[in-house]
């Protein structure tokens, strides 16, 4: 299996510990998928909610806005739904899921020797350009995710598993436009 992050294990100079272990290969995609499927099922089974994260991004934004400009939040119906009255925008199941995912990713990276300050990119693009496009991609993706009321996790994955009709339409749209655009940005990745 090809693994891109496996760097030629630099001989760590002095400290040998959690963060200097050799990078291990990623698990097989079907195995990873099966584990993810079981996690998703347990989420539905125990709580009735699926997985997600883009909702938390939005809620954290609203919490900051509510702290800085509460009057503005009170005038914007979309924000008001999350922060109106005595509602705390952070009081939602998706917020602990968001922070849990951050920690979970970090722990897995640590255990598998993949925590390293680096930039993952294609060979023909500079770091700065890659950062710029990452940033822009994030802006665009989250705008679309809020428009669609969920991202690849909240819609494609969770809605896909519960057979939600709209989620399947969203999943197909994501793949359709990414494939349609892939040729034009091939220099970024290949």
């Amino acid at each position: 299996m090809t693994t891109y992050t496996r760097t030629k294990s630099k001989k760590s100079l002095s400290r040998k510990g959690l963060f200097s272990r050799p990078a291990k290969p990623y698990v097989h995609p079907y195995f990873g998928g099966a584990v993810l499927g079981i996690v998703l099922f347990l989420a539905f089974f125990l709580t009735g909610n699926g997985l997600g994260s883009s909702g938390a991004t939005s809620r954290i934004d609203v919490a900051i806005e509510d702290a800085i400009a509460p009057a503005h939040v009170d005038k914007t119906p979309y924000l008001l739904k999350m922060a109106g009255g005595d509602k705390n925008p952070l009081d939602d199941w998706i917020v602990p899921v968001f922070f849990g995912a951050l920690i979970g990713g970090f722990v897995s990276g640590t255990l598998h020797g993949r925590v390293k300050l680096e930039t993952t990119k294609g060979p023909n693009i500079s770091n700065r350009m890659r950062w710029l496009f990452s940033f822009l991609g994030g802006v665009v993706f989250l705008y679309g995710a809020r428009l669609a009321r969920g991202c690849t996790s909240g819609q494609a994955l969770s809605g896909g598993a519960t057979l939600a009709a709209g989620s399947w339409a969203i999943m197909l749209s994501i793949f359709a436009s990414a494939y349609a655009l892939a040729y034009f940005v091939r220099k970024m990745w290949n």
Partner: protein, 441 residues
Amino acid sequence: MNFPLESFIAVSASNPWTYVVFGLIGFAFGFTLEMSGFGNSRKLAAQFYFTEMTVLKVMFTAIAVAMVLTFGAVALGILDFGQVWVNPTYLASGILGGLIMGVGFIVGGFCPTTSLASASTGKIDGMFFMVGGFVGAFLFGETEKYFTTWYNYAGYYGRMTLDQVFKLPVGVVVLLVVLMALFMFWGAEQLERIFGKRDLSKEPKLRFAGAGALFVLAVGVVLLGSPNLEEKYNRVSITRTYVQEAPEGATEEELKALEPIKVQLSPDQALAQREMQISPAELFATLHDQKLNPVMLDVRPEAAYNLFHIRGARNTQIDELSAISKELIAENTPNRLVIVMSNDEAAATEAWKVLVAESVANVYILEGGVNNWIAFFDEADPNISGVLDNSGNDQLDYVFPAALGDRYECSDPSPMEFEELEYEPKIQLQLKRDKSGGGCG
């Protein structure tokens, strides 16, 4: 026990364990994404150049596994699908949002959750994506007002699943999705062989066993079918809360310590204890309460409904209730309650049982039915005459001169005239999942 667990449907400060449970779910989510390689944008982007189909493989394996397990648990009757969050369908904003997300995906190299796994393992591009995400979500919050009507109504179908779209039994759809996923895996491996120069003979043979197991489970879901109404009804439990009476001469602290008692009742017990029958006075108060959203279902024959009904009641027959309950679940709000009524109570009670079995929340019966309503509010309306019979056999007790429907005075009694009615309140809104309560929202 019935899943999902009611106490874990939403986070609440009164139960800190909810944060732990959702935190652990998130932890497992992030861990799995990272170990599958989703912290690496190149691995994600490779999907769109056919060199490495990891995204598709992980995603569809996860969807297929979670779907088979979820619908298997539903078919076995241990999971209540009415309580599982199903993303409502907003076709227009969903498709446009999806197309926009695709652009973000191929340009940014991540999706929101994978950027978390990436940023937390030190990938600088993942961090930039995450920061960009906060900006994008902020921009959406600020611009939603310019297209809010379109956003909330265009192509809105509510809670709609693929089995409803294709009019197939849900088990068959599950099997078809599994077959489609397996076919896509085969196709993905062929593409990897051609574009990614991968040697398929080195792939683990175990994956065939996994595919077989998934297929067998999906066939099992088809064979199990859906639980019937009676099985669903027997699993319902209704929570009633009672305020404890204070002992004589209790101090203030003792009064505070008096917790309300929660009792779980089976639906038959709740009926027998008359917990679900609300008086005409309570229904009247409910209809005029701005905070509540009552839906009245009149299950009498159409002829009786045409003679007389309460204004706003919707006529429906018992055999239509399963379809109506899907609508009701799709448009669930925490303040919505459903009141069923017949001439007396017999037909209404049957209707109540169907709705409860279909896990519609907050369903009540009009005590004594329409007859009781007329008896209570009829201030000697000259148009309504005489008691025909009051044997309680679910027949109309009154004679009407014409089929005036809801144009009698007591179809919609004046709130001025009946301002302060006394009644024993029975309605206790059960906080169930509402339309905006789940998903990524």
